[in-house]
Symmetry: C2
Subunit: 326 residues, 2 copies
């Protein structure tokens, strides 16, 4: 993995992906005690950054692979990204999804033309199911993070952050990234290393699912004891990726962990102050910026708001926590 691969991905996908805005609000700056800049990837096509990586991987395939089709496993956002990118390429897409994924994500994936196969997150192994189907039907597996072209595609987010930070006059800051397997974080870290040396990528995960933070702290891969049980379903993974961990280990600052409650409060503030919709996992980095400021350095912080595919009930829970009269 290197910056040339990210530049190449940008050349392939640049005219399809949305250059998402870097938002801010004086009210959020007040809460955080420093300037807060939010890269709103919830406004990306399909509602999350995952479209970048999927588009990068699928535009890198040959004609024969496209003709057979692709397969992916995902709690929802990668699924939608792959489904749309495959449809745009005229390719078949089969998506393996956990049965407890938000209904809206399963429904959207189907409506984007993909075939959805559900599995049980507690008792079944998605890798095994996906691998078997790929073999049987000649499908190319698009892994959600342990795929170099996916990482390169996510890295285009980092190219934009480098440029937008310069436009905003930010030369040094932590860049907090909601982190599952590390595809987005490692892509951004590589892009920042090459294009914005004063910016440092850092992971944000749910408490009890902070495998990446613990892996970074100890220097070797750590796993999570639990497989489910957080509202941040989008960023729950068993352990850091084989491709992503060495990159994060070399380039990232210490990882952070946030509670579900902090994510819900961040969602409410994003609703009120930025007028964007975030899902809990997509609000984790903002939650860290707003409520765990003592773990961050500098007078500015950049946050990647990674996704906005949230069930109405969960969003209402976030709004219900707002002060009365708001």
């Amino acid at each position: 993995m290197n910056i040339e691969m990210i530049d190449a991905a940008k050349a392939r996908i640049g005219r399809f992906v949305r250059r998402t805005p870097l938002l801010s609000s004086p009210f959020l700056d007040e809460v955080a005690g420093r300037r807060v800049f939010v890269k709103a990837e919830c406004l990306q096509h399909t509602g999350s950054f995952k479209y970048r990586g999927a588009k990068s991987a699928i535009t890198a395939l040959g004609a024969k692979e496209l003709k057979s089709g692709v397969i992916a496993f995902s709690s929802g956002n990668h699924a939608q990204g792959v489904a749309l990118a495959a449809r745009e390429a005229g390719a078949r897409a089969v998506i393996i999804m956990p049965g407890d994924a938000p209904a809206v994500k399963i429904d959207n994936t189907r409506r984007l033309g993909a075939e959805v196969v559900l599995y049980d997150r507690e008792t079944e192994d998605r890798d095994e199911i996906g691998g078997k189907l790929a073999d049987q039907e000649g499908l190319t597996l698009i892994k959600p993070y342990d795929n170099a072209e996916v990482i390169a595609g996510q890295g285009t987010t980092g190219l934009e952050i480098a440029q937008q930070a310069e436009e905003a006059g930010i030369s040094g800051a932590d860049v907090l990234v909601c982190c599952g397997g590390g595809g987005l974080t490692s892509g951004i870290a590589l892009a920042l290393q090459a294009r914005a040396a004063g910016l440092r990528a850092r992971t944000v995960e749910p408490v009890d699912f902070d495998d990446v933070a613990r892996s970074l702290a100890t220097g070797c891969v750590q796993t999570n004891k639990r497989k489910s049980g957080t509202l941040c379903d989008a960023i729950v993974t068993p352990q850091p990726g084989a491709l992503t961990f060495p990159i994060m280990s070399a380039l990232c600052g210490p990882g952070l962990a946030v509670t579900d409650d902090a994510c819900l409060r961040a969602m409410a503030l994003a609703f009120e102050r930025l007028r964007i919709v975030l899902e809990p996992g997509g609000a984790a980095a903002l939650a860290a910026a707003l409520f765990q400021g003592d773990e961050i350095q500098g007078d500015a912080v950049i946050v990647v708001a990674t996704g906005g595919n949230v069930d109405r009930a969960v969003f209402e829970t976030a709004l219900a926590g707002m002060p009365a009269g708001q």
Copy 2:
């Protein structure tokens, strides 16, 4: 008013205003039966396009006027725009607001450093109150739409739409604009006339408050019988502006009118499919695009989503109308 004034406004305010994205979703295209592009001005500073006009007017003031300060009357969005632009200029701002404006707008205006004076929308005349205060304290009145520099500032939205439509390959389309006094609509209409001749501005207002549509249809200024009683408080005005009506009359297509219920449904779809937060008045144009397609021409439509400053209770009402399981 002419395009040179809009270009001049852009030169003054271009580096301060946010170039808001033009969003889209295949799911919205499906509902509308044509491609729908949403100019998301809810993502503008202070949560609405009003910051553009306020910034334009205040950056056009002389040193003496800035030293005395400015005054504005507004149901909320113009108030916040003026408050922020005044604070950025180090100028005093007094804002006359209706007592029934959403609590969040009154609170935000105060927190942006302005002095807020409340009045009763049914029994008092805001123009009289504002005029008296302006005289007594030497404040410069920044009218919400009948001010050439305000119209020029709002017109910068039209410059961006012309450019973004070209990037998206749209050469001919209706551009639907949520309309109160017509400042934004007339600014956009002037910009499109000069820079995107195939795009035509059209107003969207609440049913029973469609003074502009009726004025356009009859060729002379019509008023509304009611002063309040719609969720779309942001776009309720007694009649079209003296400066704005001649421009709209010369350049705009027929006006449209939408129900509060249609605006709530549009808010829910914007939440689900675009991950943006809209207030009812800011969703009126989207409502027309989605649910009144037989009144629109062409295979694409552009919508200006003008604002996102909404009380939590109203937003929850919009979400409650969504189909179950979403």
